[in-house]
Symmetry: C2
Subunit: 294 residues, 2 copies
């Protein structure tokens, strides 16, 4: 079968063998936000020369702005519930292929506050498939990071932290960015930021230290980006209870290192997983759904 993680800004396709092992993969910047009106065409081009019939997709492709909206499924939810809510997309231009989309998940916190994910649920399904039963905590790093509690094969609850996007808007559009100069990742400045985030005080106050550390030469201008990154990731991690069990980190290679450093600094054990858990999750879901050849 073919597994596709089709997010807002990129598309990753995996060709899987009969046991769900990745035998080939493709990547493009044809994200769901850029594909309005031509999803079928982009998918057809992406799959050229791969002749597997079943295509299972996850991510923003199933959002209101995507190919076809698939309603959020409420937590707690496990692989069976998620597989049962997959929908088949009408895709005549793809011949006899069967194209499916996985639903996103929602959760309702206290005080009537909702949270949502789309795409990450499939990565977590891959993680569940790998880890088996028990209680697990996962951290999915990215533009909008997800912290997830898994209990006995079901996604119990989760919360989103806008860490990546906050980093982007503050470094590109705020006064903090004006003092920054380009430079390589500065591990010491990054950890200084992680430690700073553990101090009393709100993020609104802490971020001003990026400016004053620059003004008072506490850090060189080339280290301020790393400091801000550590400060934000450190704030995100404030929510994590100290526990002996590992945190399962799912992150792109560029984020795996800083997140591992920050989690370790806070006393967490880290078990890192590649983003290909997404393919594993799609394979496991397709099997639960009983899709042919999966």
């Amino acid at each position: 079968m073919i597994a596709i993680d089709w997010g807002s800004s990129s598309l990753r396709a995996f060709r899987l063998d009969g046991q769900g092992q990745i035998i080939d993969s493709r990547r493009s910047d044809q994200g769901a936000l850029a594909c309005a009106g031509r999803f079928e065409e982009v998918l057809r081009d992406t799959l050229q020369s791969w002749d597997e019939r079943v295509v299972a997709m996850a991510g923003m492709v199933g959002s209101r702005q995507g190919w076809q909206e698939v309603n959020y499924l409420d937590c707690p939810a496990g692989l069976d519930e998620i597989a049962a809510r997959m929908i088949r997309v009408h895709a005549p231009g793809l011949g006899d292929r069967e194209v499916w989309i996985v639903p996103g998940l929602s959760v309702r916190h206290d005080h009537g506050v909702h949270d949502v994910m789309r795409g990450e649920e499939t990565q977590i399904c891959g993680l569940i498939d790998r880890l088996g039963p028990g209680t697990h905590r996962a951290c999915l790093a990215g533009t909008h990071c997800k912290h997830v509690l898994i209990e006995n094969g079901r996604i119990q609850e989760f919360a989103t932290a806008m860490t990546g996007e906050m980093f982007q808007v503050l470094s590109e559009h705020s006064i903090l960015g004006r003092l920054m100069q380009p430079g390589p990742h500065d591990a010491a400045a990054f950890l200084k930021g992680v430690d700073h985030a553990a101090l009393d005080g709100d993020l609104l106050e802490h971020v001003f230290a990026v400016r004053t550390h620059g003004l008072f030469n506490v850090l060189p201008a080339t280290a301020l980006r790393s400091f801000l990154s550590g400060l934000l990731i450190g704030h995100e991690l404030r929510r994590l209870p100290a526990r002996p069990e590992p945190v399962h980190l799912i992150a792109a290679p560029s984020l795996a290192e800083p997140y591992t450093a920050a989690l370790t600094r806070r006393g967490h054990r880290v078990q890192a997983h590649g983003e290909d858990v997404s393919a594993r999750g799609l394979y496991a879901l397709a099997r639960r759904r009983g899709l042919p050849a999966a």
Copy 2:
């Protein structure tokens, strides 16, 4: 004398009588960031037909990017210390006028974290002049809000919260802004944000509620800006201890109302002051400095 509050993005000039009362005022958008190389000329034009000799200025005009840099003065500091560190600017194009700039203040928190203000110290001097001795807490609303502890006529310590700038970058440059639709200030949505900020959790998580409140129609798209505003101001106010004494609020008219609403919601008594405390502060400082005709 003439009192000038010359910030990054605007200039406000006050003509004062011999008792420090405002008898006239002018305002322009010739902020210090836009005036590089022509401060003297802008000031000359601003003062046309006002013939007072002494001109006392505060704000970013005294920063590195301003007319002339005046070093930060360390806290604690009162009117005497601040007045003693005012410097006179060389301004031959202004004839026999005496042009002075007030220093900004700095403070060093624990863990080697600095904080700074420039312009606000003069507003606080006006407040001190008005309130007299004792312990007072002040909140200066704006792009970078300042929370200040005043003890017996001296600025003891302060902290900056980037509330206003955070509101701007999130509503203009993040995914949160995409769901927002223009609308009048929504007082109920604003207070919902203030209450949300009092819940457990970091700002990085709380801001995602702007998105989900929109997605799940908890709030109409026209109310999301007010919700975000309340959420951010509510986070800023987390630091304020509950006390019977009033919080002295210094805010532009557009911010006085929401800040008063948020402070009241949190159980604080509010005493509001207009931004003209700046002119009062400059007058008090000029007197301490012994400037002629002040």
